[in-house]
């Protein structure tokens, strides 16, 4: 497996392929998966749009990093995982969390600093986590999740749990030393980790062509003797199919894979970005590549799902977001007298 083209002889059976002329990547998606993938992408999009609006309305303290335009990566990749599998996420992690099953209500609550939020208001947007559910956390440190994913992989291997860990990181993160150390360790120990680089062309204002010696991060896989694949990250079917193969490989004990998803963030880096480093034209050209619209159009074209079904999903998403925000707004603030709770876990009596 060295390029996306290898996916053509992918072994997954085309169970739900009722329609001819489908790309094999699309064909492996069941109708249910198509609906669910669309729903999740839509949920992420609307979640972030409403988070942005909430920010403007002053409901959110601190900054946030929106992944609008990148939804097919999160949903494509995470959709290939089993529930007990794990992920490590980034500062731009709303999509990863929602794809991994996070409840938008508790996410909004966290953004609003409420005690019902994922982190009880202690973490905010950059630290959404749900370790029980396999989300080992967003991360405020660029590259911070890379070695942690190695640890999750090592742990899965030692516990023989057959879990796979997907590690998300950005193109900018690939220049951190942590990237190098993590990929090397995962490779020598053949750990069940899939490294997913969301190459959205920029690390904040740094164009990848200025920041990285190679334009394709997947090329760096050579240095770790692992497969490296570059795919169109705005093509959900492709990210899913690529992830399925890499995850299976990892689960078989054959080691890690580096998947690079070329995508684009439509919004600024954070709320204070004035977009001085890129052109309107560039942004517009990518907006036209909206992963959600592309996916929907292909499914409609192929007659896999009809327009009404999509409309129903949209309506469901709106309702969910609406009630999520309401929940978050109504939730109580944390009690400042409990500030120092949760710094330490209580020591249990030892098993002598």
């Amino acid at each position: 497996m060295t390029s996306a083209t290898r996916l053509k002889d992918h072994a997954v059976s085309f169970s739900s392929s009722r329609t001819p002329n489908q790309r094999p990547e699309f064909a492996i998606l069941s109708d249910e998966e198509i609906g669910e993938s669309y729903r999740l992408m839509r949920l992420i999009r609307r979640f972030e749009e409403r988070a942005e609006e909430s920010y403007t309305r002053g409901l959110i303290h601190g900054t946030m990093h929106l992944s609008i335009g990148q939804e097919a990566v999160a949903v494509g990749i995470v959709g290939a995982l089993k529930p007990h599998d794990t992920i490590t996420s980034t500062h731009r992690g709303h999509g990863h969390s929602i794809a991994k099953g996070a409840d938008p209500a508790r996410m909004f609550a966290e953004f609003f600093g409420k005690s019902t939020g994922y982190c009880g208001g202690r973490g905010g947007s950059m630290h959404i986590a749900d370790v029980e559910a396999g989300n080992l956390g967003a991360n405020g440190i660029v590259g911070g999740g890379l070695p942690i994913a190695v640890g999750a992989g090592l742990s899965a291997k030692m516990r023989k749990s057959h879990q796979v860990c997907v590690c998300f990181f950005g193109d900018g993160a690939s220049n951190e030393g942590a990237f190098h150390e993590a990929l090397n360790m995962a490779s020598i120990w053949k750990l069940p980790v899939v490294f997913v680089c969301e190459n959205n062309k920029y690390g904040m204002s740094m164009d990848i062509s200025r920041a990285s010696a190679v334009p394709d991060i997947a090329k760096r896989a050579v240095a770790y003797a692992m497969p490296g694949i570059t795919v169109d990250g705005n093509d959900l079917a492709l990210t899913r199919a690529t992830a399925v193969e890499a995850i299976e490989r990892a689960r078989r004990g054959e080691g890690p894979t580096l998947i690079e998803c070329k995508t684009y963030r439509i919004r600024g880096h954070s709320k204070s970005d004035r977009n001085l480093y890129r052109t309107k034209e560039e942004i517009e050209s990518w907006r036209a590549q909206c992963p959600i619209e592309r996916f929907k159009a292909e499914a409609l074209d192929l007659g896999r799902i009809d327009a009404k079904a999509f409309d129903d999903i949209d309506a469901g998403v709106e309702a969910e977001i609406e009630s999520a925000i309401a929940f978050a707004i109504e939730s109580p603030m944390p009690d400042p007298t409990r500030l120092t709770d949760d710094v330490y876990a209580e020591s249990l009596p030892h098993h002598a």
Binding site: G62, R122, G177, G203
Partner: protein, 338 residues
């Protein structure tokens, strides 16, 4: 809160502008001075400090780096060793945790390890502090760490005036100097002379003279302590406020002198209380002959023993606020303890 004492007619700049002006004047005066860091070029810096410098000095002297904190710190060490004067910006001081090897094992020790035959004239600027809702990994105050390391100098300017003067002094300094700026101060305005002046590294500033209690504070806490002192004055408590400005080498003499006068000491700092800057100030006084002048225990108001929380109410509760300073100082003066 900061009156025009020394300079009768003075232009005002923000703290960020003052830093930019210092950088610009240093780069104009000396071709070996340059600056590097993440997004300091066309983006102008995460906090807008470098602003338009790249347009004035070009991308060769205002260098956007990849996200490689260890590498850029090392590159700055190597450049400093070979004739250049790099000014490195770390985007948040929390990321210094990725660069400590180069700062602590290389920059700080090279001169000594090499028997005095080399120097590392390196400046690292980085924003610390809480108050912006940036949560635990973007709000720390880690200056105490570097104050513990011989070979480094560590400063914390609290005014636009000092931000400029200390940066220019740091660039002149043949030793590695770390500057902890404060996020909440970047937009604060104050008088700043136009010429390229220096503020001495290693000298505290007495921001307010007083007789009842000595408040030693750093960075944002110097601002809050000064405001608290004005409120205390209204209650008849006359506090002396010392802005430490430099953590290493620390101006212990200024503190001792004040304590001999006031007999009461309170240290206010944002970093975690335990093993923070206040521990050193307190210990330096407790081991000195000023000890005999002390009429009351030495009070430390530091950051709570907790990572910085995201929620703004919790965040405020985690570091000293003006009210707390007023209350603590009042109790110290009135009741002899807090």
């Amino acid at each position: 809160m900061f009156t025009l004492k020394v300079f009768p007619i003075m232009r005002e700049l923000t703290y960020a502008e003052a830093i930019r002006e210092a950088l610009s004047q240093a780069m104009e005066a000396d071709p070996t001075v340059f600056t590097l860091g993440e997004d300091i070029g066309v983006y102008g810096g995460a906090f807008g400090v470098t602003g338009d410098l790249v347009h004035r000095f070009g991308t060769e002297r205002v260098i956007d780096t990849p996200i490689s904190e260890l590498g850029m710190a090392g590159a700055a060490v190597g450049a400093a060793l070979t004739g250049m004067k790099p000014v490195l910006e770390l985007q948040f001081s929390d990321f210094v945790t990725l660069a400590t090897e180069q700062i602590v094992n290389q920059a700080a020790k090279i001169r000594f390890m090499f028997g005095g035959k080399a120097s590392v004239p390196l400046v690292i600027r980085m924003p610390g502090g809480s108050g912006t809702g940036a949560a635990a990994q973007h709000s720390q105050s880690l200056e105490a760490w570097f104050g513990h390391i011989p070979g480094l100098k560590v400063v914390q300017p609290s005014t636009p005036h000092d931000a400029k003067g200390l940066l220019l002094a740091a660039i002149d300094d043949p030793n590695p100097v770390l500057i902890f700026e404060h996020k909440l101060l970047y937009r604060m305005k104050g008088p700043v002379p136009e010429e390229a002046y220096r503020e001495p590294i290693g000298k505290a500033a007495i921001r307010r003279e007083g007789r009842d209690v000595t408040i030693v504070a750093t960075s944002m806490m110097a601002i809050r302590s000064l405001a608290a002192a004005e409120r205390l004055a209204a209650e008849g408590i006359d506090a002396e406020v010392i802005d430490l400005r430099t953590i290493r080498p620390m101006d212990t003499e200024a503190v001792l002198k004040s304590v001999r006068k006031t007999s009461r000491l309170m240290v206010v700092y944002e970093g975690v209380k335990t093993l923070g800057v206040g521990a050193e100030v307190s210990a330096a006084v407790a081991e000195s002959d000023a000890f005999d002048f002390l009429d009351a225990p030495i009070v430390r108001l530091g950051g709570k023993d907790v990572p910085l929380p995201y929620n703004p109410i919790l965040e405020k509760a985690a570091v000293p606020q003006e009210d707390e300073i007023v209350n603590a100082a009042r109790r110290l003066v009135r009741e002899g303890r807090v």
